[in-house]
Amino acid sequence: MNECLEADSIILTYGRHTVLSDVYLKCCMGEIIGLLGRNGSGKSTLLRILFGTLQGEYQSVRIGGQYVYPAYRHSGKIKFLPQKGLLPSYLRLRQILPLYITDVGKREQIGQFPEVRNNLDKTAAHLSGGERRIIETLLLLHSDAQYLLLDEPFTHLSPVQVERMLDLIRHHASSKGIIITDHQYRYLLGICNRFILLRNGKTLHLQHKEELVTYGYLSEAE
């Protein structure tokens, strides 16, 4: 059976301001879902609610039909790449790898990447922003988590590096369900199976790319 991560009935308000009110989201194994929305539309907030580190007034998050809240505490099925970075500045990469990647074979595989191989004895504080982001994404992609929530994984990356990461995400998506958000929507167009637009706290499930213009996410010129 193809297991899915499913969330609905998410309500979150800050005072009188309703951030999320009518959210439905489903991501199955093998899928890459692009979560789009303008600044402040609640993309990161939604990812944090899915992950379980933020509690709304109400939320229903399920994996394989089973209610999992907070999701991050359930058998390591879900991992999250936060917007502001993941790696603690005081740990060396050599110490971090065995915590996130238990399989020795996969650890050797990730060791082939120059960003990892050349920085094993460095702490995150000594890495460039781009190197750090690549390593963080690689760690999650090679981990045994079934679902990944990637919040702006292409920040600080050059176009060439983004292309490499896109290939990797595409490759790993066969065994994972990935929800990805990034302002570089053009990069996402090439890899996502489906798009969800967050607008006025509601999720709009897009059928065509053109709907991004219809709903005001893109201007006609783009």
Binding site: Y72, G76, F80, P82, Y90, L91, Q95, P98
Partner: protein, 104 residues
């Protein structure tokens, strides 16, 4: 078992970031309080160790939110990290008191 090892290691790494101030507090107790009697170990724990740990907790808990995602991905909650760190800290303190009484 593997999960337990990973979590234990992660907790130790986390505790390592707050160990110095706590060790300093333990050393202060050994130097200034314990010479007045071993029963003062409890006094030192209540009036020096716990407040110092509390201060470190408040500073890191409030001002260092993003670091925790690294641990959330390992299924460790903030509260668990701090509770285990407190237990570890108390264990280290007892060890220091034990060493002090043994080699005095």
């Amino acid at each position: 078992m593997q999960q337990l090892t990973i979590k234990t290691r992660a907790i130790l790494y986390f505790y390592r970031t707050i160990i110095w101030l706590n060790l300093l507090a333990s050393a202060a107790i050994v130097y200034w309080v314990l010479p007045y009697g071993i029963h003062k170990a409890l006094f030192g724990w209540v009036w020096i160790k716990v407040p110092v740990f509390g201060l470190v907790f408040l500073l890191k808990y409030i001002f260092n939110d993003e670091d925790y995602y690294f641990y959330y991905n390992l299924r460790l909650t903030k509260i668990r990290l701090w509770v285990y760190s407190f237990c570890l800290d108390t264990l280290f303190y007892l060890l220091i008191v034990f060493l002090y009484t043994s080699f005095r």
